[in-house]
Amino acid sequence: MTAAPAMSAAAGADVLLEVERLTMRFGGLVAINDVSFHARRRQITGIIGPNGAGKTTLFNCITGFYKPTVGRLTLRREDGEQFLLERMDGFRIGQKARVARTFQNIRLFTGMSVLENLMVAQHNKLMLASGYTVLGLFGAPVFRRAEAEARDLAVSWLERIGLTAVADQPAGSLPYGAQRRLEIARAMCTDPVLLCLDEPAAGLNPRESADLNALLMSIRDEYDIGLLLIEHDMSVVMGISDHIVVLDYGSKIAEGTPLAIRNDPAVIRAYLGEDEQE
């Protein structure tokens, strides 16, 4: 691999995702150019940048929708197990490495009920419990138990995001903000170690946005996972991120705490404009 080992030495024990020298080209277009950074467990890592900076492409590389042209993406579990994400098929990243994501334009199973959306998210676990359907077909107790547990987990998430009352309605009939929350809950139901959120606050009103902040922070504090967050809404990013990576034209131009980023002249120039609006 072309990755420089220099970075790994600096990586502390709680580094969850190591992005090393990631480059993604589409034909002649360089969407991501030699980007390296770390995302840590129990932290929210914000990724910001102007439109077209390559944020979503970065997500697509991490979650296996694109194969990076160059670079290494290492996911380290707490138990020491490592996954090289760039070598894995798209769905295996969710299944084995347990990286979950949400989408910029919400992708729920709109015709299925809210509860079913959360059950589908627990597919792999339930598939095993159902003995790859064979045991399940005959109603084996193992499967029934697993199904009940899955349902309890789903219900607990529904309560948390305030959608218990509409559990049986088609997900597509929910209002926009509720769909965003449901998508996050669905991702969480896969029991991920890394949760990637692609503009979760887009289209939310200020109140919903504040609720979202609270939800994300509670996820960070309660679960032992890392969050990766693409966001345009500065109040969200600055308010809840522990660490921020700034991209511009596919390259990383800055990295640091929200305060440092706020005062970084390169960031102000490229992204926030000469005169800070805050």
């Binding site: 969710g94 084995k96 049986d168």
Partner: protein, 506 residues
């Protein structure tokens, strides 16, 4: 009342209607002048000649534009004149057609546009269309313009009706199906037709897994039906296996074919998958025609052991030393025994298909199928293996087609490639879509309609498939989502009655 609505704009409405009727007349003339006006005939020695039928063209050029004229008037709010005129024409033409079909002597004396009763009946359907159009326009008018919300509400209502209807209809259909051979109407011909209908119900339910649940457009489903049929045919003629012994093998073979064919192509999306499956269907058929040594070529495989009653054959004169169904039970021999038994076998097979499908839907795999139909990208993000999931749907669907195929072979006693043409795949797909994708009762109804109807129309040999195609179009136009379209969640938090539409906290 209707006049009040139409009066202020009457001249322009009439003008508009006349204009449209004029264009319709030109169109109908263009469509019919050569195709209907000149019937080509092949003479001796490869020469051709023709007979003209300008009378038929003329009537079409008169009747269709008149219908269009009335329809435009009806749509613009005039109710009674179009309904009365078109209605009267419909009743007259349809009544006359019925008289003609019954072969009554009065028919030729009636003044009618066409000699053939069925053609008059088809024009009667056109009249019905006008009446329906006018009535619908009136309904929309009194209820105000259609808005998006209203349409959604109407769809929700329809789904609700469909749900309740299926809940009532399902058990009723099963009971009727079970007792019908014992009723006075359950004669051999009817039961025989019902066997055919039930075969298609089973095929429809099988394909429903692939198309309705997993959302994979399969236009070559008949290939797996063929694999099942030929598997039993070969096992019976070469190895002497009975139907019951072959049944699981036939299903397994079909499933295996499903996996082999599915593996390379299931990555393809939507219509690409459709054309490739269609291609596979044709490939299998061509191989069946041409691989003389194994499949018997165009003549197929004959002398396949018919289905037996768990070891007892249905034969008038059983071989010496063996028993037959009627000798064992000490009853008189009747060919009906076999038909009735076949009927129950296929009902059992179909119900098993149905039961397994309903169970599968509630399994993780079933939910994954539906999720995959809704959004494959999201599925991958959730760690669901799309290829394996699709492959299971494909294989399980194929397996049921294999069962149905081996039943078909056991019923017929012979198999040949001509039973497995593309049109069969198309009909099965039509059953699934017309039924309302995913709705088990809907599929059964659609099969009853699409397979039963041609059976009823058997006497109209020439018009049978014409009506069949027309009905397919009309039903789809009438209910684009299918006859009984609704989806019930696979698990409910609040039970069947549920809470009334709850407020969603924003």
């Amino acid at each position: 009342m209707s006049a009040n609505v139409a009066a202020p704009q009457a001249p322009s409405v009439f003008f508009q209607a006349a204009k449209e009727a004029f264009f319709t007349a030109i169109l109908v003339a263009m469509l019919s002048i050569l195709m209907v006006g000149y019937q080509t005939e092949v003479l001796q020695g490869q020469n051709m000649s023709y007979v003209t039928r300008f009378g038929d063209v003329m009537w079409a050029v008169i009747l269709v534009p008149v219908g269009r004229f009335l329809l435009v008037l009806g749509r613009s709010g005039m109710l009674w004149p179009p309904v009365v005129l078109a209605g009267a024409a419909t009743i007259y033409l349809f009544g006359a057609a019925v008289l003609g079909l019954l072969g009554l002597a009065i028919y030729p004396t009636l003044p009618l546009p066409y000699d053939q009763p069925m053609v008059n009946a088809i024009f009667a359907v056109g009249g019905l269309f006008v009446v329906a159009g006018a009535a619908r326009a009136r309904r929309d008018r009194t209820k105000g313009a259609q808005t998006f919300e209203k349409r959604e509400a109407a769809e929700a209502r329809q789904a609700h009706v469909a749900k309740n209807l299926s809940r009532i209809l399902g058990p009723i259909l099963i009971v009727v199906a079970l007792v019908i051979p014992w009723t006075p109407w359950g004669d051999r011909a009817l039961v025989d037709s019902l066997v055919l209908v039930m075969t298609y119900v089973m095929l429809g339910w099988g394909l429903n897994i692939v198309v309705g649940l997993a959302g994979l457009l399969d236009l070559g489903y008949v290939a797996f039906y063929a694999v099942g049929a030929y598997t039993y045919g070969k096992l019976s003629t070469s190895l002497g296996l009975t139907f019951w012994e072959s049944l699981p093998i036939a299903g397994a073979m079909a499933a295996l074919f499903g996996i082999i064919l599915g593996f390379p192509v299931l990555r393809l999306r939507g219509d690409y998958l459709a054309i490739v499956t269609l291609g596979f269907g044709e490939i299998i058929r061509i191989i069946l025609i041409n691989w003389q040594a194994f499949t018997g070529g165009p003549n197929g495989i004959g002398n396949i052991t018919r289905v037996d009653f768990f070891g007892l054959p249905f034969e008038r004169n059983p071989a010496p030393g063996t028993e037959s169904f009627h000798t064992f039970f000490g009853i008189d021999f009747s060919t009906t025994h076999r038909v009735v038994f076949l009927y129950y076998v296929i009902i059992a097979l179909a119900l098993i298909t149905n039961f397994v499908t309903i169970r599968l839907r509630k399994m993780p795999i079933g939910r994954a199928w539906e999720a995959l139909r809704e959004d494959e990208t999201a599925c991958r993000a959730l760690g669901i293996n799309p290829t394996n999931t699709k492959l299971t749907a494909f294989a399980i669907g194929a397996m049921f087609a294999g069962f149905a195929g081996s039943f078909f072979a056991a019923r017929q006693g012979f198999v040949s490639p001509e039973s497995f043409t593309f049109i069969e795949s198309a009909v099965i797909l039509a059953i699934v879509v017309l039924g309302g994708m995913g709705s088990q009762v809907g599929v059964a109804l659609a099969a009853l309609l699409l397979i039963g109807l041609p059976e009823v129309l058997r006497d109209l040999s020439l018009y049978r498939m014409l009506v069949f195609g027309g009905v397919m179009v009309l039903i789809m136009l009438w209910r684009p989502k299918g006859l009984l379209a609704y989806r019930e969640p696979t698990l409910l938090l609040h039970g069947r009655r549920g809470k009334k539409k709850a407020e969603v906290p924003a």
